[in-house]
Symmetry: C2
Subunit: 313 residues, 2 copies
């Protein structure tokens, strides 16, 4: 019955938007900690978090939030990690695990590791889950169910601390993978960062056209465009920080994307139907694999409702 044991005495969330609040809900669901504290410096955001009710205590200062915590989770945009880790470092308990949920890992190690005392177990992490929503109202307990969480501990990290954090994420619903930070950043560049960049880009392109009006773009978005707008509605600060901190991998993957797009553009220009057909057939198989791996719904159109809202006519 070891699965029933609590894992942590006190979890301190540094920031509590979509991911932080979801960690709180998932921890409560599985009874993973006695106390969940959250450090939210801005008054209005802290009030919203109080209303949502996912934390046992909310703090305007970082010291009381992390005091006595055996798990501390950095859950703000990654550009703030250097400063936040400096601020909380002197207040961390010996033996505490410090982790994060950032979408880039090498830069986080660069920014956080030098600030910590050796008595703290630093285990960078990335739950590969999310929605386009942000803020303390957007979390839910099921966010991590069936998704992967990648941990990128540096060599020499205490294996027991790693095992404890793995167990924590498993009981939050995730599968856990251990990966090298640099490799993580390359994998996420192609599965997440470049897809977001091109989604943001095409939505920007469409908004700027002078030959097609914005209202036409909106009216006829169900033909494909609307899918991209969901991703392009993600949190701007979070995504700015990701691109600023995973530059090399993003540029490398973007180079590949551009090379392939140039070839595809050429196929369109020269009317090479076979090249188009072959690519379009090959990409179908990837979709099937994702569905078989339980990483997307088999329902057509993501299971979207057909008539979405009652509009005035």
């Amino acid at each position: 019955m070891t699965k029933r044991l609590m894992i942590f005495e006190k979890i301190a969330l540094i920031g509590a938007g979509l991911i932080g609040s979801s960690i709180a809900y998932a921890s409560r669901r599985a009874n993973l900690a006695k106390h969940i504290a959250a450090y939210i410096p801005r008054d209005t955001t802290r009030a919203r978090a109080a209303k949502a009710g996912f934390a046992d205590s909310l703090h305007a200062g970082i010291a009381p939030a992390v005091d006595g915590a055996d798990l501390v989770v950095l859950a703000t945009p990654i550009g703030s990690f250097a400063e936040l880790s400096r601020e909380c470092a002197p207040h961390l308990m010996a033996g505490a695990i410090l982790t994060d949920v950032g979408s880039v890992k090498a830069a986080v190690i660069r920014d956080v590791a030098p600030n910590l005392l050796p008595e703290v177990h630093f285990i960078p992490g990335h739950p590969v889950a999310g929605t386009e929503r942000s803020g303390p109202e957007s979390g839910f307990a099921e966010l991590f169910d069936g998704r992967w969480c990648i941990l990128t501990p540096q060599p020499g990290t205490d294996p027991q601390a790693i095992a404890k954090l793995k167990e924590f994420w498993r009981r939050c619903g995730s599968d856990v993978e251990i990966m090298d930070a640099k490799h993580h950043d390359l994998v996420l560049a192609i599965t997440s960062h470049v897809p977001h960049l091109i989604a943001y880009n095409i939505v920007g392109t469409a908004a700027d056209l002078e030959t097609v009006t914005q209202s036409e773009v909106i009216k006829y978005s169900a033909s494909g465009f609307r899918d991209f707008t969901r991703i392009a509605a993600s949190d701007p600060t979070m995504w700015r920080d990701i691109f600023l901190n995973n530059r090399d991998a993003v540029l490398e993957m973007l180079g590949r994307f551009n090379e392939d797009l140039a070839a595809l553009q050429r196929a369109v220009r020269w009317g090479d139907g076979d090249a188009l057909f072959n690519l379009f057939t090959r990409t179908r198989a990837i979709r099937r694999s994702i569905i078989e791996a339980g990483q997307d719904t088999p329902e057509p159109d993501f299971g979207r409702p057909s008539r979405i809202t009652q509009r005035k006519r």
Copy 2:
């Protein structure tokens, strides 16, 4: 009570995949025709259509399918329209409306109009609706609900025939817009064709990497990539034909996209956080407008279920 009147005696569907079969279901739902015929030359596909049961009669030959039909709908990939319109032209009833559901309109007019006798009302159409599925099993009555249908009649087309077809699409659940064919092709290039092209492209890029394995791409696809794979699972023949037949507009919009992406790439390379943040903020507003216009669900993540399937562990 004019809304209760049938509009057509007999609808002939030339091809019946996702769109054709959905027209049949929507027509039945609103009682729009006495008889729905479908021309499906391939035996196996015709058998599948028979099993689905959306048509009153199924035909291996085009002549009996269109015989006596006052509405004929070309609903195959657009590359086949020239030949199909030539084949059915001699059998069309005087006064019949011939329309289509193709995603490109100028090329369809080029391919179809010269084959028709003047007694037939040719009104090109494009219901802006669909899913990634194809085939006669994939249709459903609600597909067009709340979506737009664009008609692109040439100057001089009989206004009564246009009114009749508009009424037909309205009662299938659509809003109807009249548009110039060339403008349609430009609008759809940015809202649909280029989005599909870049989705196909990134899925291809990801599949070809040697530094990131295909299994990693699949495992971590929930971080953004999986959204693109839905679009990239669309019917290859249909999409090949779209790109072969809307070349100029696609190349123009792709040129814009590439220009903007080059600027964005430069912002990533030089660490221009403000440029990134500004774009990422601007694109959020477009998403909101699409939701307000009833063209996408306000639910986070398109309303996808969190845990998608029970996987073996």
